[in-house]
Symmetry: C2
Subunit: 359 residues, 2 copies
DNA sequence: CCAATCTGCTTAAGCGTTTTACCAAGGTTC
DNA sequence: GAACCTTGGTAAAACGCTTAAGCAGATTGG
C-alpha cells in the first residue's frame, strides 16, 4: 500500500490541508466509489484484487486513481467485523522489561506474526493477576486469533481461566494440564551442549555450579551435564556439583569451593554466575581460559559477549520461542506427541574455553 | 469483567462443551438480549453502565445474569466501528530487542496506554524502510489513536511520510521539522548529574571518557560535564576529556591514557565502557572506588548493578520515555514551547564512588 | 379529569466493509 | 428470433454494536 505518494499536480505543500482533512475524517469506501462513479461493491472488489470478479480494466483504473487521489485506507475494524476473525495475535507477558529476555520473545512473536499477516497486541501484567485478567479480556474483546501466554523465565504455570475462552499457547512456561500447547527451551539439551563444549576441548574433570532455587532449568541443566559426561564414559561425580544463588554474588562466592575440587573447567548455571566467578578467579590470580575454562548459560549478550575474555555459553532461544509460539498457535508446527515442544538451545563459543594443555 | 465464573448449577466439567461452542461462535449482544427478553439497546445500556439510562433494577439484573450465563464479551471491533475512534496506540520501534532499552520503552508505553484505556499495537521494523511503511499502514488501517515512533538510541530521524497521516510522537528521537512532537532523554542534565556525583564526593580532577561516534548523547553528556564543573568553579580542562569507542574494549583500552591524567575520578560515556575500565584498572592493581571513583551512564542493569563494586551511573529513562510519549500523544502533557520534551535522567548511586580521602 | 411529566423500554438508523444474488446489455447459437 | 451465455457491473443484506428518537403506561399537577 503505497498510497501516500503525492500524485496531484499541485505543489508539495498542498498536501498539508489535505492531510488535515483526512485526519479529521478518514476516507471511506463510499467516497471512493462516488469519486470513481461506481458502487462500493466494485471498489471493494478492486481493492481486494478478486480474480473472479469481472471488472473492466478501464473501471479498475478509475477506481485505483480515486483511491490514490483520496488517500484511501481500508478500515480494518469494519473488515474484521464482517469477516468475523481479526488479524491479531495477543501476547501477554509477565515482565516485559525486567530482562532483555521478554523483549526477545516479543521480537520473535512479532516477526513471525507479521510474516503471516497478523499484528501483535501486547500486554504486560507484571505478575499481577488482576491486570492479567483485564489484559486477556481486552484481547478477547478484540477477537484475537489467539493468545500467547509467556513468562520471563521457564517455569510451570497455571492457566488463567479466561485464557481458555481463546486459542492459546504457553510460551516459556507449561502446564500439567493435558492438551495445553506449550513451547519451552530444551534445558537438558542445553546442559548437554554446554558440557560438550568443555569435553570437546579435552576437559575431563568438569565442575557444575548449579542454582539453589528450584526450576525446570535447574533439573534440566543438571541432567544434560550428566548425560554428556556419561556419553563420554566419565562417571558422574556428585562432589563436582556445587550450588549457589544464581547471580554474580553467587558465582563469586562459589570460587573457594570450586578451587578445592581440582577441576580444569567449570560450567555455570547462568552467565551472571560466570561473571561473578570471573572476579573470584581473577582475585586468585587465575586466568581464563588457561587456568580454568568456563562456560555459562543464557547467552545474556551484554554480559557474555563483553566479559574479558568473552564467555562461551548456551543461548536461551527466546526469539525462537516467540516465533514457535506463533507458529504453534496458527497450527503451522507439527503437533507434539505429548508435553511442551522443546526448542533447541544453541551453543555460542567464545574465548573462555581453550584446548586443555596436556598436564 | 469477571464473566468466566461458572455460575450454572451444572457440574464444573460442563464448562468444556460450553467453551467450545463459544470459541466457534462468540456470544453477541443480540443473544444476550433474547436470553434476557429485552432489546439489544437495553443490553447495551446496561453493559455500558449509562447512568442516564432508565432501566429498572429488575431488568438490569436479568441482563447481567444473561451476560454471565452466556459468557458474553463485547466485540471491540464493532464498538470501534460505530464510535469511530479505536482504543489503539501504535508503537513502531527500529529494534525491539537489540538491547533491553527498547523493551523498556514498550513497557512504559504499554503501562501508560493501558492506564488510559488504550491497547498497544507494536511493530518492529529492524530499520527496514519497507517493513516500516507496511507497519504504519497496518496501524492506520486499524485506525489507531496515534503512533509512537521510537528508536533504540537517541538520534535525529526523518519522519516517514505515512506517519503524517496519523497523530504521532517521536520517542527517543527527534526531527528538525517544526511542529513534530518528540520526547528525548535530557543528556545534558544527565551529564551534569553524573559529574555532580563525583563532585559531591570531593573529587576535583575528574576525567571524562567520551564516545568517538557522533550522537546527541556525545555532545549533551560533554556539555553536562562542563556545566557541572563550571558551576563548582572548576575550570574545564580539555586534556581530561578522552575519547574511545563506546564499548567494553574502548573502556579497557582507555585505561593507560586515563592513568596519565592523574585524576581521582572518571566519568564514562556509558556503562559498558566503565565495565571495560574496571578490567583495566584491576590489571593495574587499582581498586574502585578507593584508587579511582567511576561513574557510568545508561544504567544498564545487568551490567551496572552487578559489577564489583556495583557501578554508580545515570539512568536512561526509557520507561519514562515510553510513558511520556503516550501522554504527549493523548495531549496530557504540557506542550513544549519548542523542540523535543526532555526527560530527566535520574542518578543511581551505588558503590563505585566514595568520599575522597584527604590527600 | 385532562394535560404534562416521568419511567422503562423499544425501534431503527448507521458505522465501513464484504459478498451473494441479481440484472441489463450485448453476443452466440441454431 | 428465441434461447442461451457472457460481460460488467449493482443492490442489499449482514457483521455487532451505539444511540437518538419515540412510545406506551403510570404518576402527578392543577
Amino acid at each position: 500500500m503505497d498510497s501516500q505518494e503525492n500524485n496531484s499536480d499541485t505543489p508539495a505543500d498542498a498536501a498539508v490541508p489535505l492531510r488535515q482533512t483526512q485526519r479529521a475524517q478518514p476516507v471511506t469506501l463510499r467516497q471512493v466509489a462516488e469519486a470513481a462513479g461506481v458502487s462500493t461493491a466494485t471498489v471493494s472488489l478492486v481493492v481486494n484484487k478478486k480474480k473472479a470478479a469481472r471488472i473492466s480494466d478501464e473501471t479498475r483504473k478509475r477506481v485505483r486513481d480515486a483511491i490514490r487521489d483520496l488517500g484511501y485506507r481500508p478500515n480494518a475494524m469494519a473488515q474484521t467485523l464482517v469477516s468475523g476473525s481479526s488479524r491479531f495475535i495477543g501476547l501477554v507477558a509477565d515482565a516485559i522489561a525486567t530482562t532483555p529476555f521478554a523483549g526477545q520473545i516479543i521480537h520473535g512473536a512479532q516477526d513471525e506474526a507479521w510474516k503471516h499477516g497478523y499484528a501483535l497486541l501486547i500486554a504486560n501484567t507484571e505478575g499481577n493477576r488482576e491486570l492479567e485478567t483485564d489484559a486477556i479480556a481486552m484481547m478477547l474483546e478484540y477477537k484475537v486469533r489467539g493468545i500467547l501466554y509467556s513468562t520471563w523465565f521457564h517455569r510451570a504455570t497455571e492457566i488463567p481461566n479466561s485464557l481458555r475462552e481463546s486459542d492459546f499457547v504457553l510460551v516459556n512456561c507449561f502446564s500439567t494440564e493435558p492438551g495445553a500447547r506449550a513451547v519451552v527451551p530444551d534445558e537438558t539439551q542445553g546442559g548437554r551442549s554446554a558440557t560438550e563444549v568443555l569435553l570437546k576441548h579435552g576437559h575431563r574433570r568438569i565442575a557444575f555450579i548449579n542454582a539453589t532455587i528450584p526450576a525446570p532449568a535447574k533439573d534440566g541443566r543438571l541432567r544434560g551435564y550428566r548425560e554428556a559426561l556419561e556419553a563420554e564414559g566419565i562417571p558422574f561425580d556428585e562432589s563436582l556439583v556445587l550450588e549457589a544463588y544464581p547471580d554474580q554474588e553467587g558465582g563469586y562466592g562459589a570460587t573457594e569451593e570450586l578451587l578445592k575440587r581440582n577441576v580444569t573447567a567449570v560450567y555455570c548455571y547462568n552467565d551472571r554466575m560466570a561473571m561473578g566467578l570471573y572476579d573470584g578467579l581473577r582475585e586468585h590470580g587465575l586466568s581464563i581460559p588457561d587456568d580454568m575454562a568456563v562456560v555459562g548459560f543464557d547467552n545474556q549478550e551484554v554480559i557474555a559477549a563483553h566479559l574479558r575474555p568473552p564467555l562461551s555459553t548456551v543461548s536461551l532461544p527466546h526469539y525462537e520461542l516467540g516465533a514457535a509460539g506463533v507458529r504453534t498457535l496458527l497450527g503451522l508446527e507439527e503437533p507434539q506427541a505429548s508435553g511442551p515442544a522443546k526448542i533447541n538451545c544453541p551453543t555460542v563459543e567464545r574465548d573462555s574455553v581453550r584446548v586443555l594443555a596436556p598436564a
